[in-house]
Amino acid sequence: MTNTYEAMFLLDNQVVRADWRQAKTLVTDLLAKNGAKVLCARRWDERKLAYTIRGRTRGTYLLAYFEVDGPALNGMRRDFELDERVLRYLMLRVDALPAGELEKAAEEGVEGYVVPTPPTEESVSYERAVFGDLADRPIQEPSRRNHAPVEGPDADGEGDAAETNEAAVAEEI
């Protein structure tokens, strides 16, 4: 039985940067190879990924709708798993093609339609990835008062100074 399916593909930005139309036909060809009738396919968005996938921090999403017999999906899954240019895919059955989808897809076919070039991968240092903006802050000497007293000749003197400071603060209050 023929069903309508919605499929979202996450494509490697390197392929998209080379040529968007080629990247699109790469997916639609694989769909057609498995007997699907592609209704429409369009660029959904280019965005930063929530987590790194195969070393990529950004990726381009392709949204496609197609009609195919259910059992053919197994062959498609195998093809997409094997293709390294497709980072992730998600295929869902839908009742019908959503309204306005054909028009959005047709916009890409118009002469002069330019696909924005994906930005280059951000090289994020480990410190920035873990600590964010905190990584830029200068490292401050930890205050002695919050730590255990340091062993040494000066330790007593400093300890006394800290105590007198505390006493002064207490008097002010």
């Binding site: 996450l10 992730r88 998600l90």
Partner: protein, 72 residues
């Protein structure tokens, strides 16, 4: 005796007849994550059983595609 905490209000109200929650509406789905990116409980989201199940499914699909984080 321990003070009883006032429950926080639900994040969103939703009509169950609305169209199914879509995994592509990432900005909407992000409201239903805790600061650690866990899915909020039904108590916190204010959703009924069916809506919460749709929400869970949509968030998990978005996570698979790299649109939403698993952890933060």
């Amino acid at each position: 005796m321990a003070e009883s905490r006032k429950p926080s209000p639900p994040i969103a109200s939703r009509n169950c007849d609305d169209p199914q929650i879509d995994y592509k509406e990432v900005a909407y789905l992000l409201k239903f994550l805790t600061p650690q990116a866990q899915i909020v409980s039904r108590k916190r989201s204010g959703f009924c059983t069916q809506c919460q199940r749709e929400l869970k499914q949509a968030i998990k699909r978005a996570r698979h595609l790299g649109l939403m984080p698993f952890v933060q």
